[in-house]
């Protein structure tokens, strides 16, 4: 149902007691800068903007390799909240190597399995924002591929 790497992360979180869940989320949040684009990396699509749903600018960068597998990078402004940073790391790692269509078809119910019910609350809806942005860039990519194939 989920890409294997993401599934491993979900299963890991489901075994963690609450304190360790929080610690692991913080560790993921702190590793978010490693998901930023590196010098000279080329992308098929880039989408950098600031939406109302998020407190600061978020950039999503998509590269699809010759086998049709997606590789994601993300950049986050300084005001982005810790949980959103954590989800950025988790999704960049967990979705690496999945196809854009697999990402687009991904149900969002895994978010609460990672974050836990206690941390999902009204003002944490931005937790879902990263997934929405990643799906958005995959949709644009697929739409363009289909348009090119039809031309």
């Amino acid at each position: 149902m989920y890409p294997p790497k993401l599934n491993n992360i979900i299963e890991l979180f489901e075994t963690l007691p609450e304190v360790e869940r929080r610690e692991t989320l913080v560790n993921y949040a702190e590793s978010a800068p490693r998901q930023e684009p590196r010098p000279n990396e080329k992308f098929d699509l880039e989408d950098v903007r600031k939406d109302e749903e998020c407190a600061d600018k978020v950039g999503v960068y998509l590269q699809v390799d010759k086998e049709g597998r997606a590789h994601l990078r993300m950049s986050l402004g300084p005001e982005v909240q810790t949980l959103t940073r954590a989800m950025t790391s988790i999704l960049c790692k967990g979705l690496d190597g999945a196809t854009p269509q697999e990402i687009l078809d991904l149900p969002s119910d895994f978010v609460t399995r990672i974050v836990g019910a206690e941390l999902v609350r009204v003002r944490s809806q931005t937790t879902y924002y990263v997934l929405t942005r990643i799906k958005g860039i995959c949709k644009v990519y697929l739409d363009r591929q289909r348009a090119a194939a039809a031309a």
Binding site: E52, Q81, R121, V122, Q125
Partner: protein
């Protein structure tokens, strides 16, 4: 010639970062962090600080209301807070949630409360010590408060309506766009389920941020007095109600009016716009 105060009415309600760094081991204080970012404390906090969450610690799990007095006593006991402990609140977002927690502590009559001027951002910007070590304190014997002071510092919807009808000071501390009814939530924030936009009839718009400087510290007493007394029509001899969207930004303004300007008749309408904007029959005013 105005008679604005030249000093804060209760300067003891603020502590500066320098002072706090020198008092980290002071056993008579308890540093309390309260944030919007619910994992921020976990990423590092002021040494010795405990974490109090605005929702899971201060609000009832089922009813939209604050915890009962016995739960408040339990919260204090497990954080080693005694009835005489001086609680120093700080947090993100220019101390919104710190002021909210402080206001909630006052609801239960806890007397010794202070705010760290400038909050978490200023402490961090000054490269002061932070730790991930979660502080543990021996349980206190905090007595169960006799009551919650809802009547004194909290307003309910019918009281906000009465305030509006009586044309008494009603301060809307949300952003100008929310006040005008152009948007129903803060920019950059998710919609929190409000059906109608606008403000309570007669309310004056004084965004919370008006009270702070760029470094999140509070403006001087004369500046605050001009904003609230001269421009917004707040008067010491007439009671005032403040509101925002869920009561956190208005807690910040409540703190300013109560502790920095010395008013003893300010109530926070914590139901705020998420109640008023959905309430059947509640009158709403829009403005350009």
């Amino acid at each position: 010639m105005n008679t604005y105060p030249t000093e804060y009415a209760h300067p003891e309600a603020l502590v500066e970062t320098d002072w706090l760094e020198q008092h980290l081991s002071d056993k008579s204080i308890r540093i309390v962090e309260s944030n919007e970012d619910i994992l921020l404390y976990d990423t590092g906090h002021i040494p010795g600080a405990v974490h109090i969450d605005w929702r899971s610690d201060l609000q009832d799990a089922v009813i939209r209301d604050y915890i009962a007095p016995d739960k408040f006593a339990e919260l204090c006991r497990r954080n080693g807070i005694g009835p005489d402990t001086t609680c120093i609140f700080y947090g993100d977002k220019a101390n919104w949630w710190a002021c909210y927690a402080l206001w909630a502590f006052r609801l239960f009559g806890h007397k010794n409360v202070k705010v760290l001027n400038g909050g978490r951002d200023k402490w961090k910007a000054e490269n002061r010590p932070m730790t991930r070590e979660v502080a543990k304190y021996p349980a206190s014997d905090y007595p169960v408060p006799n009551e919650r002071r809802d009547k004194e510092i909290r307003a309910f919807a019918d009281e906000a309506l009465a305030q509006s009808k009586a044309k008494k000071p009603l301060i809307d501390v949300r952003s100008p766009g929310e006040f005008k009814g152009e948007i129903t939530h803060m920019a950059e924030y998710p919609q929190e389920g409000v059906l109608r936009g606008g403000h309570i009839p007669g309310a004056k718009s004084v965004p919370w941020k008006t009270a702070t400087k760029d470094d999140n510290t509070f403006k001087s007493a004369p500046e605050l007095a001009k904003i609230y007394f001269e421009d917004a029509g707040v008067r010491p001899d007439v009671d005032t109600v403040v509101y925002c969207r869920i009561g956190e930004r208005s807690s910040h303004t409540w703190f300013v009016l109560t502790y920095l300007l010395g008013l003893d008749n300010v109530r926070n309408y914590d139901g705020s716009w998420t109640e008023w904007g959905n309430k059947v029959g509640a009158p709403i005013e829009k403005s350009s």
